[in-house]
Symmetry: C2
Subunit: 523 residues, 2 copies
């Protein structure tokens, strides 16, 4: 009997019908029955008469399965034995806990520090290789990217592969395609650029390539935040009919849903697309119907947040809607939506002409700290002008900036949190004071005091430059005090203190102070 590692993929492959359009005309299903779960999964056609079914077991032990469908006159049965992970990277998929935080299903904390390489899977092979090498050496544990290729500034080359085969065979609506020529992001696109892709005929080679890349990301412990739709298009992929959209969605979910590192993002900047709310809700319903694992699902905005309170949305995937205050509002959005807040776009480190792509590394790292200490998550991107127009944010490649090591440093600090997750303890103040989420917040006015001290506190001063901060610690407790230079990545032990204590600081930006109450046995 075949053994499968828990949360890894078990894949079955069968030959089946070839006539007509196998992507559309036939189905393949499998039912898996284990001690703790029974799942019906849909498979997909992979070209050349091959049908596949993928399954991710969520539990250890024996499963029976049964494969059937219109793809073949035959049906199949079998058994697998699911074993515990040996790979320490495999903590299962990421889910939501406490309606606030992200966590691996095995209970390991997941401190999301994401990055963005929108079109990396569409770049020449050597750049994709380089991207994976860069990711391997980086701290990032999530990457946002698009399945569809990109047409936009710095992204005017054709992709290496397309998701569809050429030659309209049926159903494409040329009228709907023409519409997108009005859109602002491709004013120089012409009707003749819109080639004759058949939105009912997937290019399996492309999707096989994506299989490999998702799998590689999984091996690196990186969540694949797959963005299904986006407006930066010139091939018509952004403007398919509802029917074609749903055919695409079902195919993608059937194909990639079993990867434990997959997240669904319905769209990048949904509000720049010509789709209606009804369209999005139908797409969301299709995902919910097909995705038996309930993968993390969201939708990303440009100017206006989608209604994140919708049932199908597992977490907020936010782009800042204000240039000056965004991650600093994390608590408000946590409260409003009662879901984890992931700041996927808060401007990128770089120096391109546009404001969303030319902030300093220092400022990006500040935004990471603000988001993280307030109980949210932040995302990185890099947009440095490059002689060959290879910008990390879209193409991947190598990093040129200086924020990534600092984000790594932040991640290590986060990993030291007692009780896994942080929250901001006070509402109005000139600092963020992060405490473990398990700590009951004490009711006091930080303007009046006296300050109440928790067992673990990180005080972050952002762009402020205090020369010192005073702590009126309890006389009867001892606190280890550390000064954290979040930019220079140092933690300086300031000793053990009780009572009124002045902590000297270097009057620089981006400093923090950590207080750790010592166990009474140590006193």
């Amino acid at each position: 009997m075949k053994t499968v590692v828990r949360w890894e993929i078990f894949e079955l492959e069968y030959s089946g019908k070839l006539e007509g359009n196998p992507f559309l005309d036939y189905h393949i299903y499998a039912e898996f029955e284990g001690e703790h779960e029974t799942k019906k999964v849909e498979g997909f056609y992979d070209g050349a008469g091959i049908y596949r079914v993928r399954f991710m077991p969520s539990f250890e032990g024996r499963y029976k399965y049964h494969v059937y469908g219109t793809f073949s006159k035959e049906s199949y049965e079998g058994e697998i034995q699911v074993t515990a992970p040996v790979n320490t990277n495999n903590h299962g998929p990421v889910g939501v806990v406490e309606k606030r935080y992200l966590e691996y299903v095995d209970g390991s904390p997941y401190y999301s520090v994401g990055t963005t390489c929108y079109a990396w899977i569409h770049q020449p092979e050597e750049i994709q290789k380089e991207t994976l090498e860069t990711l391997q050496q980086s701290c990032f544990n999530k990457i946002r990217f698009w399945l569809f290729p990109k047409y936009y500034q710095y992204n005017l080359k054709e992709p290496v592969m397309y998701p569809y085969k050429r030659g309209i065979k049926r159903g494409q609506d040329p009228k709907r395609l023409e519409k997108h020529l009005d859109m602002k992001f491709h004013t120089d696109a012409k009707i003749e650029d819109i080639t004759d892709f058949d939105f009912y005929d997937f290019n399996e080679e492309f999707f096989q390539h994506v299989d490999r890349q998702i799998s590689r990301l999984c091996g690196l412990g990186i969540e694949a935040d797959i963005i299904l739709m986006h407006p930066y298009d010139k091939w018509g992929f952004a403007n398919m009919t509802r029917e074609c959209d749903l055919v695409y969605i079902r195919y993608v979910v059937a194909r990639y849903g079993a990867y434990r590192n997959v997240w669904w993002s319905l769209a990048n900047e949904y509000d720049l697309m010509t789709k209606t709310e009804q369209d999005w809700e139908e797409i969301a319903a299709a995902i919910k119907e097909c995705d038996c694992y309930g993968r993390l699902t969201s939708i990303h905005n440009c100017m206006k947040f989608y209604d994140y309170s919708r049932d199908w949305i597992t977490h907020c995937s936010m782009q800042r809607i204000d240039l000056y205050r965004h991650v600093e509002s994390t608590e408000e959005y946590l409260e409003l939506y009662n879901k984890p807040v992931v700041w996927d776009e808060i401007a990128y480190e770089g120096n391109i002409e546009m404001g969303w792509g030319n902030i300093a590394g220092e400022e990006l790292v500040r935004r990471f700290w603000e988001a993280s200490l307030r109980g949210g998550y932040a995302g990185h991107g890099e947009t440095y002008v490059h002689e060959k127009d290879i910008l990390w944010w879209s193409h991947g490649g190598i990093l040129h900036g200086n924020s990534e090591p600092r984000i790594d440093f932040l991640k290590k600090i986060l990993e030291e949190t007692p009780g896994k997750y942080l929250k901001n303890s006070i509402g109005i103040s000139d600092e963020v004071v992060a405490i473990p989420y398990t700590t009951a917040t004490k009711d006091f006015n930080p303007w009046i005091g006296p300050k109440q001290y928790y067992d673990y506190e990180i005080h972050y001063y952002g762009f402020g430059r205090p020369s010192y901060r005073d702590f009126d610690l309890p006389e009867d407790s001892q606190y280890k005090i550390e000064v954290i230079d979040t930019w220079n990545m140092t933690v300086t032990d300031m000793g053990i203190h009780s009572g009124y204590t002045r902590v000297l600081l270097p009057a620089k930006q981006y400093m923090a102070v950590r207080l750790i109450k010592q166990q009474s046995s140590l006193i």
Copy 2:
């Protein structure tokens, strides 16, 4: 006949009654009648049997006057001849134009760049002298300060003089005084610190000193934004009875209202005081009643703006109510209140422990640019830790920071504005694009374009670091393009351009680009 310069002070001095409490028991009035105005002004008692009346003529030409009141059995008459200013600093008082901007009454633009030395008039003489020397060499044309002395962190010394004499003679309400011991800003104040000041008996020496300082500021071309009340008190001045407050207000207005550089600020951080809205409205009504010149009047907040739409408020005197977005909302407040927006407190350059007093010079200057280009005004302050606790924000002295020369540079750029005042031309963008207020804003969506160009534009990129910006200028016009480094204070001429133009920038923060359309005769 005595000659007086327009907008300068004409002062009359008389001996009068001494018995009882002359501050309270007698009045002195004067009526001035000129060709263009008739004013009734109230005078004040100045100690030692001397009563004074001050008058600022708003017009040239001959005035007759008549002095009368209970101060004396006598009444007096006379004439003055008002002549045009010869001092180029004398542009008259500052007023409001277009419900948006500040302007001298002679039509000269007033680009307000303020500073803050709250308690400078309470410091030892040599520090006050130093403050005036610093001001003289600085760009500042407004200063905010308190009449009452200050008790707060870094300000624990007794003032050189008090505004009241000691020895309760009548009317002081010890109960009301006790109240302020509950207030957070003087938790270590004790009832015995509240000495026996008589709030009906002014210390004329103190007020004479203030006369001299206001006059010196006037000579330097600096507006005196006099703050009448504030919460940082331990002597009871913040907690006088309504009656005592009004006695004080009338005295101050009678005494200082004739100085053309005087503005009234009812309070600093009114919302930290124990007074009610009714109290503030009564105080405002008293000022309005006594101040025949209609000096600029406002009230300054801590956490919550006062209702700036009130009739008596001539301009918004704002402290930021959010740490991250404030001056960037200038247009919204201009629209909301339909009055000039003066950002009097947007955090200070410095390195003290508190967030409001430890931002970088770079950030303060950025805030000045944001406020100014959006059609508002900003205020400076400096809070560097000092071995003798002399901090500019409160004590004056000398400047230690690096923002002032940059504010001066900004002021010079503002002075080059055609049509005097700027406004932001677009609502949502990654830049501010300031244009002269007289320019009709064209209706276009900056996200879609094509951009409409005005004859004069300053594009400001704030903390962004673009390597270049593209301008799709009209082919049939010529524009002078300049790159402004707002921090290094350079203006680099990039030549004359038409049509599509890429302007290379150094990918640094705090840069701006200025476009100046050339007259057709130059083409």
